[in-house]
């Protein structure tokens, strides 16, 4: 399964009110290209911090489902964020990790997630639910109900190493992304 396809499948499964925080690199660009909405925050810099941003948001908006679209490189860069999410035990925090065992936007150099199963790390830290899926069918089955049950959760999605063509950059200016997203977070 391509990562862009996996990102689109997860996005399509989210309820209208769910809030998504996407990490930098290809994952945010794929979410923007395939499924942009005001309820999406695209982190274009500050690699490693998407899960922390998502956790801060989940803690102050406990009635909203918060889904972090993360990558293996991002998770590994700030692995302590998993400990923070587990310790906070926020039921509305969901961590979806698209794992290609590589740094997609810099030329697909290897990470170490092929030897360090990140969902096992999350389980050991104390996430309530963790699972690994590796096919489109298994992903669709999982996301049909995954976000209805309490977190913290990690759904690790094994994806192809290569990038798909035709994915642009996030075109919105960062400050505009923040204003739009804050309005979506604080309305209703």
């Amino acid at each position: 399964m391509t990562r862009a396809d996996a990102v689109a499948r997860v996005a399509a499964s989210l309820g209208r009110d769910a809030l998504a925080v996407a990490c930098n690199g290809m994952i945010g660009r794929e979410l923007y290209t395939r499924a942009d909405a005001p309820t999406r925050f695209y982190m274009i810099g500050s690699m490693g911090l998407a899960a922390s941003i998502g956790l801060g948001l989940a803690l102050v908006q406990p009635s909203r489902t918060v889904v972090v679209f993360d990558g293996d490189g991002n998770v590994l860069m700030n692995l302590g964020a998993i400990a923070s999410a587990a310790a906070a035990a926020a039921a509305n925090f969901h961590h979806v990790v698209f794992d290609n065992a590589a740094h997609g936007s810099t030329g697909c150099q290897r990470t170490i997630s092929d030897r360090v199963p990140l969902e096992d790390v999350a389980r050991a830290a104390g996430y309530r639910r963790c699972a690994r899926v590796a096919s489109a069918g298994a992903l669709d089955d999982a996301v049909a109900s995954w976000f209805d049950a309490p977190g913290p959760s990690m759904l690790l999605v094994v994806v192809d190493r290569a990038n798909v063509p035709g994915i642009g950059r996030v075109e919105l200016p960062p400050a505009e992304i923040a204003v739009r997203f804050r309005a979506a977070c604080t309305s209703s």
């Binding site: 998407a50 922390s52 923070s84 977070c185």
Partner: protein, 162 residues
């Protein structure tokens, strides 16, 4: 002093607290640790604290991030590639270890460059003066709200320790 400081922060609208501790503001973190009503999130790193604060801001809060000045070094990328490009504000309460060259060796270099470092980052700051702390917080908060950028209150030894 910790109680008075937290009361002032709340009076200036701050309602989300996270950070990494320092002995120089121990009187503040002791209260934050002990009183659940603050919802204090003890962060694992200073840049992760800025991430948590950014999420809280996007969720409608006005955050404070406490850190030792050593944590400013850890936080550079979060400040310049998250807060300053997305216009995500926060008040950083930064302890000043190594001020005047009198401290443990690991604090001396950062202590010497703390002010130039904040200027290099283009971050408005005040060096905390106990006699005018309310006015300092008022000015910093006004700047932060107008610019939607992070600002810093630098806390020397002997003000918030106890």
């Amino acid at each position: 002093m910790g109680r008075r400081f937290l009361d002032l922060l709340e009076r200036h609208g701050y309602d989300f607290f996270t950070g990494v501790p320092c002995s120089l503001f121990e009187s503040v973190t002791r209260i934050l640790d002990d009183e659940p009503r603050y919802g204090y999130v003890s962060a694992v790193r200073e840049d992760a604290a800025l991430g948590l604060a950014a999420g809280a801001y996007l969720g409608g809060r006005q955050p404070v991030v406490l850190m030792q000045n050593s944590g400013l070094g850890v936080s550079v990328n979060a400040i310049v590639s998250l807060n300053q490009i997305y216009d995500i504000p926060a008040l950083l309460v930064v302890s000043w270890r190594g001020q005047d060259g009198r401290d443990a060796p690991e604090h001396l270099v950062m202590g010497r460059v703390t002010e130039p470092f904040l200027r290099l980052l283009d971050m408005p700051y005040e060096v905390c003066d106990p006699a005018s702390i309310d006015a300092q917080l008022g000015a910093l908060t006004a700047t932060m709200r107008t610019t939607r950028r992070p600002v810093a209150l630098v806390v020397p030894k002997g003000i918030l320790d106890r």
